[in-house]
């Protein structure tokens, strides 16, 4: 599974992407975030904002309870500020 980070999530994690294989218990966006927070202080810092962080699964906006099963690409980012 490819993970992408944008804006200040990217800056806090310290890289733009990761390739990961989460354990079987990680089935949702929220569970993936929880698992990432245990990967190191930079992840804990990046994801401490909790609900303020948005996610997209395979390039579609996804809520915390959305499934990540079979996803090829999961992205994490702050609320959008375009337009």
């Amino acid at each position: 599974m490819k993970l992408l980070y944008f804006a200040w999530v990217r800056e806090r994690v310290g890289r733009a992407e990761d390739e990961v294989s989460p354990p079987a218990g990680v089935g949702t966006v929220a569970e993936l975030i929880e698992w990432l927070r245990g990967r190191g202080p930079e992840y804990a810092h990046a994801f401490e904002a909790g609900p303020a962080i948005r996610a997209a699964v395979d390039r579609r906006h996804a809520r915390p309870d959305a499934s990540v099963a079979g996803a090829r690409e999961v992205a994490f980012f702050p609320p959008m500020t375009g337009g």
Partner: protein
């Protein structure tokens, strides 16, 4: 019916001329241009904005937003054009154009497109000031503006 993502500035007159050339069925053309202002949200003087986006998803999301607008209103044509990269004060950031037979549809669709762009297209603005830089915080008023279309 088109979406475009580009680094270069664009020209409003050229874009509208391209959409309206030879058309005699659309009585109403509405445009919205978002321009980079010279003040950061903090009130400091802004040196530049940098717009980061999510390549791949951005194009898909712009297309989804435009398709949604065209499902709700009878538009003769529409354009959503968004820049990314570094943008200087006074330069355009975003352009929405809607063409319809009558003005109500053209105005409503343009407002809808902007509200959805603000809250759903994967762009993030970073403000560069003399004192450094910071990511722009999302505005609750933008979420509220987008919510009204769900009623």
């Amino acid at each position: 019916m088109a979406v475009r993502l580009q680094e270069e500035p664009f020209d409003l007159g050229d874009e509208v001329a391209r959409l309206t050339l030879g058309r005699t069925d659309a009585g109403a053309v509405v445009t919205f241009s978002g321009i980079c202002r010279d003040r950061a949200d903090s009130g400091e003087r802004l040196v530049a904005l940098t717009l980061e986006h999510y390549p791949g998803m951005t194009e898909e999301e712009l297309r989804r937003i435009e398709a949604e607008a065209r499902g709700r209103w009878a538009l003769a044509d529409s354009l959503v054009l968004h820049r990314h990269g570094r943008i200087l004060p006074g330069e355009p950031i975003v352009l929405v154009v809607t063409l319809a037979a009558h003005r109500k549809a053209a105005f409503e669709a343009a407002e809808f497109l902007m509200d959805y762009l603000k809250t759903s297209a994967p762009f993030w603005k970073r403000e560069e000031t003399a004192g450094g830089g910071s990511w722009v915080a999302a505005k609750g008023s933008d979420d509220a503006a987008a919510e009204r279309w769900k009623a």
